[in-house]
Every structure is written in C-alpha cells, then in structure tokens.
Amino acid sequence: MVQPLKRRKESPSQTAGPYVHIGTNPNWVEITGVWQGDLGLDLVAPEAKGERILVKGRVFDGADQPLTDALIEIWQADAAGLYNSPQDKRGQADPHFVGWGRQPTDARTGEFRFETLKPGRVPFPDGRLMAPHITVWVVARGINIGLHTRLYFGDEEKANAEDPVLLRIEHRARVKTLVAPRSEEQGLPCYTFDIHLQGPDETVFFDI
C-alpha cells in the first residue's frame, strides 16, 4: 500500500439530450414566465469598444445533416485581448462586453448566429501571441461530452500562420476546419464557422 492521493474524480459528463433548451433557453422553447430572457443572447453593450462582427454557422453530423437541436456557447476576449473574468489577472476587460454567448441552433435550418466583437490577441503560456480566436463549445443529443473547438478568422492569415495552437495540428489540411471565411452581411463582417462532427472535413476538436 501507499499513501492515498485523495483527489476527487470529475463528475462524468452525460449528454445534454434533446431537451437541453428547457434548462438553458426556456423562453426560446416557450417556457415563459420563469425568468425574463435567456442568458447569453446579448454579448455587446452599445458602449463596448471594438469592431462589431457576426459569427454564424451550422453543425453537421456524419450524414451531412445539420443539427437542429444543438446548443452552442462561445467564449472570447474583448477587443484588447482581455477576458471578462476574475481569472484573467492581466487587467480589467471592457465592462460593456461579456465575452460569453449562447445560442440554440435553429430548429428548421440548424443555423446558429452571434453578434459579437472581433477579439484581440491573447498570449500563449510561453508569451507568443495567439491569433484572434473564439472558443466554441457544442453540446447536443448524441454528444456524450461537450465538444471544444476554436474559431479563427479568415482575414487574419498572418496571425493564423504563427498561431501556436494551429501550428500543433499535424495534418495541415485540417487547419482550415478552424478558419472561418469572411463575408459581409447587414453591413458587418460576417464569419461562417461550419462544424463537421465527422467525415473528410471533420473539425479539429480539442482536449484542453
């Protein structure tokens, strides 16, 4: 025998199931009156500093059908590269920008959509700057443990080329699964981030 380490084990994940929105977006599934407004719909207050952008996409299963029952969360730095979190000790983030968003995928088209800000660059642990990116987390029926990935921006070629995380991807053809191409919509830059759970274009998911 040896002395026990006495660390606990993380609670095992279980699927969010088909009715996750009852808990996370009750107003969206017509359970109204319990609380006003679902969390995570608005990230940006009018006073927030930075470039307004749209982020949209769909989540495709292994038969290339978009998921119409998924839940997407995003987490990102503000325009100066600071996180609105007590865990970011580098400085005070923009109080008018939450940095966290949550949206269901559309029940008909499967599209998710966020109005947010272009994030600034954040350092990797060794001090090198990462390219601007948004953390994306996907849960749904049939997904046993939440899938963690990142959106990088298609118009940040130079920063992407030196990003310490993207450089770790061994199969270089897969880097593009994390890079959202830019277009315009409603007069704003719009980045399309389609997520593929399986197949030749399977998105790079992270164990982080």
């Binding site: 993380e10 095992p12 808990g23 359970i31 865990q87 049939g142 995380v165 164990d207």
Partner: protein, 241 residues
Amino acid sequence: MSHDGPFYQRDRDWHSPAFTPGYKTSILRSPQRALLSIENTLSEMTGPVFGRDILGPRDNDLITNFGGTGEAIGQRLIVYGRVLDENGRGLPGVLVEFWQANAGGRYRHHKEGYRAALDPNFGGCGRAITDQDGGYHFRTIKPGAYPWPNRVNDWRPAHIHFSIFGEAFAQRLITQMYFEGDPMIWQCPIVGTIPSREAIETLVAALDRQATTHMDALAYKFDIVLRGRRQTMFENKLEGH
C-alpha cells in the same frame, strides 16, 4: 503553494467515449479523429461569471416557478449539494442550471412524443448560484421515468439534467443526476455509455433522511465535481524569494 496552475488533464477513460453505439444518436454525432491536446491557455483558464442579480426568488423552486398560483404535482423533493473541484475545494459563485421531466416523465417541449400528461403547474427548469462553500439547493418534484426512441423499449431512469459553469471554461460540464436505489439506472443505454460502475455511482444522488422538511419534502444530496487546478510549486518562486 496554491492551486492556480493549469487544470488537471481530463481523464477521458473515466468519461464516456464519443462513439457509443448502444446510444444510437452518438453514431453519427461522434468525432472520429484524435482530439488535439493543448496545454491550457488563458482562453480555457478564464470563464464567465454570473451575478446573483440574474436570479429571481423562485428560480430554484420548480414546484412554484411556472404555475401562477398552483403547485406542481408529484413527490416533493429538496435537491442539495456542493460544487467542488478535484482538490475538494467548494466553488463559490458558480451558476448551476437544471431541467427535468414532470412527475409523469413528460417534458414541456414540442418534440416530446410520450403520452404522459402535462402538468399545467410545471415548467421543468431552474437555476442557482453557489454560496461561499460551493453549496446549492432547489425544490422540485421527483421526475418520472420515460420511454425514448432508441431501441423500441428503452426507458430513461428518473433523472435531473445539470449544466455547471465553474470558474473557467475548461470546467464547463453538462451531466445528469440519478436517484439512489433505482434499478433502471443499470438498464439505460445513456448511463451505460460511462465506462465504469464506479464512475456511474458518482452520479447517483443519496436519499438523505436528515435533510427532509417536516410534512413536506424528501431530500437528495448531489455533489458535483469539476476539474481542479495544479499547484504551482517550483514554477515561479524559490524558497526565500
């Protein structure tokens, strides 16, 4: 020494794998390639914080938070516990969201196909923010078991869904709570995605006869463990500096 380093690596052998054919929907929704392993960066070691100002007085009372004046039908319960990290530290100020079927096993949702009746006084959602010790509690009714489309005769054991935030996005977790003594736990393909009995048992809430309320509600205790952080020992400081 303080626990402010990166998070312990997630034990992927303890959690369900992505591909679990007994749970059919996972077949086409499971990534097949290796996950990209990266050390924690600020993007994962930070996370959103929710203030108590978002909470209404009945957010943690599923018996009354949907009906105008009426109360939900069913076995009245208090569910309580703590949100801890792997180091055993209670996590204060953490948002916990929960949702469940009604006493008959029916969800208030347009996709629900089970014939059990809706309860006009039950919505099925609630939320709480943990106190200084990581404690939370809510009042609800015991959810019923329900059949679901997997194999033709698969039933879910009674359960409550939980979403927990933690202090950093690396800790983000969704899971389910089961009830002590329920034989259906061991027959469920979704529970069965978890590799070990030991891990499954950590999701089974204990009946706590010492926490009941007189002539009112039974009580179940359900602790939730999120990832813990490493100690930073030699990385920054040497003795005497």
